[in-house]
C-alpha cells in the first residue's frame, strides 16, 4: 500500500493509490501567528488540510504542535492570520461552538470523564447531534426518547468498531491507558466530525497498543472518509499513516509535503530526523 503519493499542487480532488478520494482543502491556516506575552509559539505558519486525508503535524518538543491544534480547536486564538473552514473565514469562536461546527478532538493527556462509563463517555460525543429541549428530556417524552435511542444505536456501532464491547459499562477511570485512549477516540468519532484532531494518539503506548491505534486511525479514515489531523512524536508511525506532513520547529514551519518529500528535506533532517545514514 502506498499512501505517499499525494499531490500538493492542485485544488481539485484526486484518488490515492489505495483508492481513497482526497477532496479540496477543508481547512486552511493562513499566516497564523500565536504569542503568549513575549513568547512566540507559532510564527507565520500556513498550511491546509484536505478533505479525506490524514494530515500529520510533527516536530520536536516545544515546536508548537499542540498550540497549533489548540488554535484549530479554538482553545487559543491567534493574534495574526486567518483560518478558512469549509471555504469561509472563521470568526474567533469558543471551543464548544467549534465542536458544533464539526471539529472533534482527543487530548495528549487523555481528557475523559473519569467517573462515567465508557458508554456514557462516548454518548457525550453525540451531544452536538441532539437537539431536544430540557423539558422533553426531563419528561423522557416523544422526540427526546427517540433521539436518545437513535444515538445510543450509533454509539453501539462505534463501540463495535473500536472493539471495546467488554468495557461498555466500566467507569473509564479504571481502564488501562491504551483503552482510555481508544475510548477517547470513540468519543471524538461519535460526533461524526468533518475534521478529527488527534493530539499524540500513540504517546505513552507500548508497541502492540500503537499498532492497534494505527489500525483504527487508518480504518476511520478509509471506512468513514473522516479527515484527520494528527500530532505525533513517533516518526515511523507518522510516515506510514499520513498522506501529507507539516514539520514544525521552534514555532516555524520547516517542511510540508508527502512523507517521502519531508524525509528528504534537508532542513527537516537537520532539525528533527538527525543525520541520515543512507
Amino acid at each position: 500500500m502506498s499512501r505517499k503519493t499525494a499531490k500538493t499542487d492542485t485544488k481539485d480532488s484526486y484518488v490515492t493509490a489505495d483508492g481513497r478520494t482526497i477532496g479540496p482543502a477543508v481547512m486552511e491556516m493562513q499566516n497564523i501567528t500565536l504569542r503568549f506575552g513575549g513568547v512566540i509559539a507559532i510564527q507565520d505558519i500556513s498550511f491546509d488540510i484536505r478533505e479525506g486525508e490524514v494530515r500529520a503535524i510533527i516536530g520536536p518538543n516545544g515546536a508548537g504542535k499542540s498550540s497549533m491544534l489548540n488554535v484549530i480547536n479554538g482553545f487559543y486564538h491567534p493574534q495574526e492570520g486567518q483560518i478558512l473552514y469549509k471555504g469561509e473565514v472563521r470568526k474567533p469562536l469558543k471551543p464548544y461552538e467549534i465542536a458544533h461546527q464539526g471539529i472533534a478532538r482527543t487530548f495528549q493527556n487523555i481528557a475523559l470523564f473519569k467517573g462515567m462509563s465508557t458508554l456514557d463517555n462516548i454518548m457525550t460525543g453525540r451531544l452536538t447531534h441532539m437537539k431536544t429541549g430540557m423539558l422533553s428530556q426531563a419528561l423522557w417524552w416523544g422526540r427526546a426518547q427517540k433521539e436518545e435511542v437513535e444515538n445510543r444505536a450509533f454509539v453501539e456501532r462505534i463501540i463495535d468498531f473500536l472493539e471495546i464491547q467488554s468495557i461498555r459499562k466500566v467507569p473509564v477511570g479504571r481502564l488501562p491507558y491504551g483503552l482510555q485512549k481508544r475510548v477517547e477516540l470513540g468519543r471524538a468519532l461519535a460526533a461524526e466530525p468533518s475534521l478529527l484532531l488527534l493530539d499524540e494518539p500513540m504517546a505513552g503506548m507500548n508497541v502492540e497498543e500503537k499498532e492497534d491505534m494505527s489500525r483504527f486511525i487508518l480504518d476511520v479514515n478509509e471506512e468513514f472518509g473522516t479527515t484527520i489531523a494528527l500530532i505525533e512524536h513517533d516518526m515511523s508511525v507518522v510516515m506510514d499513516l499520513a498522506d501529507r506532513v507539516v514539520v514544525m520547529d521552534y514555532g516555524k514551519k520547516i517542511g510540508d509535503g508527502t512523507p517521502d518529500e519531508v524525509r528528504s528535506n534537508q532542513a527537516v533532517i537537520d532539525a528533527y530526523l538527525g543525520v541520515s545514514h543512507d
Binding site: 464548544y96 481528557a111 475523559l112 467517573g115 451531544l127 427526546a144 468519543r187
Partner: protein, 332 residues
C-alpha cells in the same frame, strides 16, 4: 416487646424523616459542587429567599413595599389578592431560575478559571447580598408558610400501631408533614438521578463535573450548564424552603439549616448525590437515637445540637473523602 422498644422505633423513624430534611439541603450543595467545584455558601439563604418569595406571592405582598413607602410616602403593603399555592410555587420557581441566570451573568461569568477559594468568597458575598435583598423585597417579619400540607401527628398511624406495645404504648407519633417531606424528597431525588443518568443534559452536567476542557471539546457550553445547575439548585432550595418553612416558619433562622448540611456533606462526600441522602439519614437517625439512648438518660440531654458535628469530625479522621466521595489518589 416492651413499650420502650417501640418508643425506640418511633425515635428511629422520626430520625429518618429528620434526616430526609437534612438531605434536601445537602443536595443543593452537592449539585453545585459537583458541576463547578464551588462550595455554595449561599445555599441556605437561597432556601430562605425561595420560601419568602413563595409566601410573598401567595399573600399578594408588594415587593419592596417598605422601600416604595419610604421613597414615595405611600402606605402600600399588599395587592389585595391571594394566590393559590400551586401558582405561587410556579412563580417562585420562575424567580429562582431567573436568579440562577443572573448569578451566571453577573458573577460566575467573570470568575471563570479562578481558584475555588475566590469562588467560595463570591458565594459568601452572594449570601449576604441575598439576605439583605430578601428582607428588602419581602420584609423581615416572621412569616407563616402554608401550602396545604397537613401538620401535626398522624392519627391514623397512631391508632393503628397502638396495639403493638400493650397498655403503656399509644402508637407511633409521626408528623404528617415529615411523611410528606419524605415522599417529596424521594420523588425529587429519584427524578434527579434519572435525569442525570438518562438525558443529554444530565450527561452534560456529569461531563462538566469531570473535566471542563473535555466538556468544551465535545460541544458543551460551560456557561449554559452553570445556569442549569444553579437553576436546579434553586429548585432544590425551593423544595427545602417549603418543607422547613412549613415546619418552623419563614424567618432568618431558616438559612441556618445550611449549617446542618455541613456534617451531612462530610459524611456523604461532597460529590455524591446518594452520599447526601445516606449522610442525611445517618445524621438524622444518629442524633435522635444518641439523644434517646445516651444523651437524655446519661448526659442531661440537648445532644442533638452537637452530635452531628462530632460524628463528622470522627469521619474526617478515618475517611476524609466521606462515605461516597471520590478517593483522592495522588500518583507519584
Amino acid at each position: 416487646m416492651p413499650a420502650e422498644f417501640y418508643y425506640g422505633v418511633e425515635v428511629f423513624l422520626n430520625g429518618l424523616m429528620a434526616g430526609v430534611m437534612y438531605s434536601l439541603v445537602a443536595l443543593g450543595f452537592v449539585l453545585i459542587f459537583k458541576a463547578s467545584g464551588i462550595f455554595n455558601y449561599a445555599q441556605g439563604i437561597m432556601a430562605l429567599f425561595a420560601a419568602m418569595t413563595l409566601v410573598g406571592f401567595q399573600e399578594g405582598q408588594i415587593p419592596f413595599a417598605h422601600l416604595i413607602n419610604a421613597v414615595f410616602g405611600t402606605e402600600v403593603h399588599h395587592f389585595g389578592w391571594t394566590m393559590p399555592a400551586f401558582f405561587a410555587i410556579l412563580f417562585a420557581l420562575g424567580v429562582m431560575l431567573l436568579f440562577a441566570f443572573l448569578v451566571e451573568k453577573l458573577i460566575l461569568k467573570h470568575l471563570v478559571n479562578q481558584e475555588p477559594i475566590i469562588l467560595f468568597m463570591a458565594t459568601i458575598g452572594l449570601a449576604y447580598f441575598m439576605e439583605g435583598f430578601g428582607d428588602l423585597m419581602w420584609g423581615s417579619n416572621v412569616k407563616k408558610l402554608d401550602i396545604g400540607i397537613p401538620q401535626g401527628g398522624n392519627f391514623w398511624i397512631e391508632e393503628n400501631t397502638a396495639f403493638l406495645g400493650g397498655a403503656d404504648f399509644y402508637g407511633f407519633y409521626l408528623d404528617t408533614l415529615d411523611i410528606y417531606a419524605t415522599v417529596i424528597a424521594a420523588v425529587l431525588v429519584t427524578s434527579l438521578v434519572l435525569f442525570s443518568q438518562y438525558t443529554k443534559t444530565g450527561r452534560a452536567l456529569r461531563a462538566v463535573a469531570d473535566d471542563h476542557q473535555a466538556a468544551l471539546s465535545v460541544g458543551i457550553s460551560l456557561r449554559s450548564i452553570w445556569v442549569i445547575v444553579w437553576g436546579i439548585a434553586g429548585f432544590v432550595a425551593l423544595v427545602a424552603g417549603i418543607m422547613w418553612g412549613s415546619k418552623s416558619g419563614v424567618q432568618f433562622s431558616l438559612s441556618l439549616i445550611a449549617l446542618k448540611a455541613l456534617p451531612v456533606l462530610m459524611l456523604g462526600g461532597f460529590t455524591s448525590i446518594p452520599g447526601a441522602i445516606i449522610g442525611g439519614l445517618i445524621i438524622g437517625v444518629g442524633e435522635k437515637m444518641f439523644e434517646f439512648l445516651i444523651g437524655a438518660p446519661l448526659l442531661g440531654g440537648a445532644t442533638e445540637n452537637w452530635f452531628a458535628y462530632m460524628l463528622a469530625l470522627v469521619f474526617l479522621v478515618f475517611r476524609p473523602q466521606g462515605l461516597f466521595g471520590e478517593k483522592i489518589i495522588e500518583r507519584v
